[in-house]
């Protein structure tokens, strides 16, 4: 078990390094980071442009630039932005913002998705199953940025009905944040609901669709009938033998799901004005900033790999065959 996980971890680390090289290389080929300096009016002196070019090592070949970046990044120095601030200054705060979104979104998405999917499989072709199936298809056909805006429109309606701001949809906390710990907590919660819901809705719909199929496959198997025949209650047979087996194929899906949520977070952060990694990468691409983009890629890659590792652990816990090998 430990060796299995250690091998996976090593594999993931190599993939992470290669992935960061791929983005760094692509960004270096595609971006012209000096443009934002050259287009300033008045134009900065040639010496400062030269200094920026030297700092980014623009005259050196890309592999050398990458190794330089990597050796600094390992020590926690992710270079500076085009505007001149160190990337590391904003990095940790933004990671916190994004991780909160992605973590809560993926946990809610996975748990509710599995519950709803399993429930609708048990109630196959009843009204509740049909309603859930249609709703899931509708949510899956709606892009994140449309869901977010529809939720905002709905929240406005609710706010005007109650006459107070029940839901907040700009930023992650009010700018006039003060008062005791409780009111701060409530304020953050009000801001958290809509973005999290945006991310979670898509995840719930995706997981429940697959969980329903996996569960239906399992329910038709002989061992469920055996379990019922030897005298287990329907509930015990379904949960102990049905759900556990149906969860195994879902764990692989979980790894992909995290990557989908990270992409979804780009839109969610942009629309709700959260200053997280997703908003940053949009800003980084718009200002042609290699260092920001590389730092965000390492973060997204690490998040996806963490999700992958987590799904490996759950897989090993659910499926005894992995532990024997």
């Amino acid at each position: 078990m430990t060796r299995f996980l250690a091998r996976r971890l090593l594999n993931y680390l190599v993939l992470l390094v290669l992935a960061s090289f791929l983005t760094f290389g692509l960004a270096s080929l595609s971006f012209h980071p000096l443009d934002s300096l050259l287009q300033r009016n008045p134009r900065p002196p040639q010496s400062s442009i030269q200094a920026k070019s030297d700092e980014l090592g623009l005259d050196k070949p890309i592999p050398i630039r990458y190794t330089h970046w990597l050796s600094n990044a390992v020590r926690g120095d992710f270079g500076t932005t085009v505007a001149g601030q160190p990337v590391a200054d904003q990095l940790w705060g933004r990671i916190g913002v994004s991780l909160r979104l992605v973590f809560i979104g993926s946990v809610i998405g996975a748990v509710l998705g599995v519950v709803i999917g399993a429930w609708s499989a048990i109630r196959q072709y009843r009204l509740s199953d049909r309603v859930i199936t249609v709703l899931c298809l509708l949510v899956l056909s709606t892009p994140t940025f449309v869901i977010a805006n529809l939720l905002i429109l709905g929240a406005l309606r609710v706010n005007s009905v109650f006459g107070v701001h029940v839901f907040e949809y700009i930023g992650e906390s009010s700018s006039t944040l003060g008062g005791d710990a409780w009111s701060q907590f409530v304020d953050r919660l009000q801001h958290l609901v809509l973005p999290t819901l945006t991310l979670a809705l898509g995840a719930i719909a995706g997981y429940s669709r697959y969980q329903r199929n996996a569960m239906l496959d399992v329910l038709g198997q002989d061992f469920i009938r055996t379990a019922r025949a030897k005298g287990l209650t329907r509930r015990r047979a379904l949960f102990k033998h049905g759900l556990r087996t149906a969860l195994i194929p879902m764990t692989t899906l979980f790894a992909y799901g995290v990557s989908g949520l990270v992409t979804g977070a780009v839109f969610t952060e942009k629309i709700f004005g959260w200053h997280g990694m997703g908003e940053w990468v949009v800003q980084g691409i718009a200002t042609q900033d290699i260092n920001i983009v590389a730092a965000v890629t390492v973060f997204t890659g690490a998040t996806v790999l963490l999700g992958g590792l987590l799904s490996d652990i759950i897989y090993a816990a659910l499926d005894p065959r992995v532990r024997v090998q």
Partner: protein, 310 residues
Amino acid sequence: MSEPVTTTSSATAKSGVDVANFASRRTLVWRRFLSNRPAVVALAILALLFIGCYTLPPLLPYNYTDLDYLALQQPPTLKHWFGTNALGQDLLAQTLRGMQKSMLIGLCVALVSTVIAATVGAIAGYFGGWRDRALMWLVDLLLVVPSFILIAIVTPSLGQAARVFWLIVLFSIFGWMISSRMVRGLTMSLREREFVTAARYMGVSNTKIIVRHIVPNVASILIIDTVLNVGLAIIGETGLSFLGFGVQPPDVSLGTLIADGTKSATTFPWVFMFPAGMLVTIVLCANLIGDGLRDALDPDSRPPRRGKKK
């Protein structure tokens, strides 16, 4: 997927059964698809939208760039069916133009990425060994970096001229990984089947075996996947344009229209609702058709109804 596709039916002819009365596999699939009402309706709507977005614009009094200064930010009227935006542009003309772009990109990306997925998956699954390891490792690598960010990184260096073409290329390059894994899994089980072994012992080359025996037998998965990928590709393209990295103004895509609409969605809802509604309709139709095709091509995947035995 349950039975291998056979091109000749001489065996049944010899057994004395009247072949003419047998429904061919294609007829059966078509009949099963037609019995799925939501999928048929979705197909009709999608076909109508596709034809409409190409034939309607020349008939409209307004081009998608024309400005009507007498109608700024107006709700839907008889003159402007979808209303106008802050500049006085006709939203119907703009939405149709955006649909042209988005549907074209979605369709092309789905086709190209399915071809890549079939090639990679069949090679990895059929040959196994180092080819399999290398290709699946590449898949893992591409799945680690959110492909969406990679595409967004490359877009600033694209020219204005062939932008749509390059968007199709980029989305195809980063959109085949998960399908190729499915094809690989199916190919690995097909490789052990008798008809493949027989072909190999008869000296048929590997390329020919893949083209003639493997690919036709994973065809149903490929067809379903192509249709479902259309929806994904459209969501990807509109998302990229929404962030400002896809289709660039003055040209429009559903994504740029929705991005413009969100700024005033609370006060002038029609600027947001019409493009967003069209986008959701298109993707929903593509998904419904995909599901209908899955049920028609692969009846085993659909569990038996309650009360009926397998």
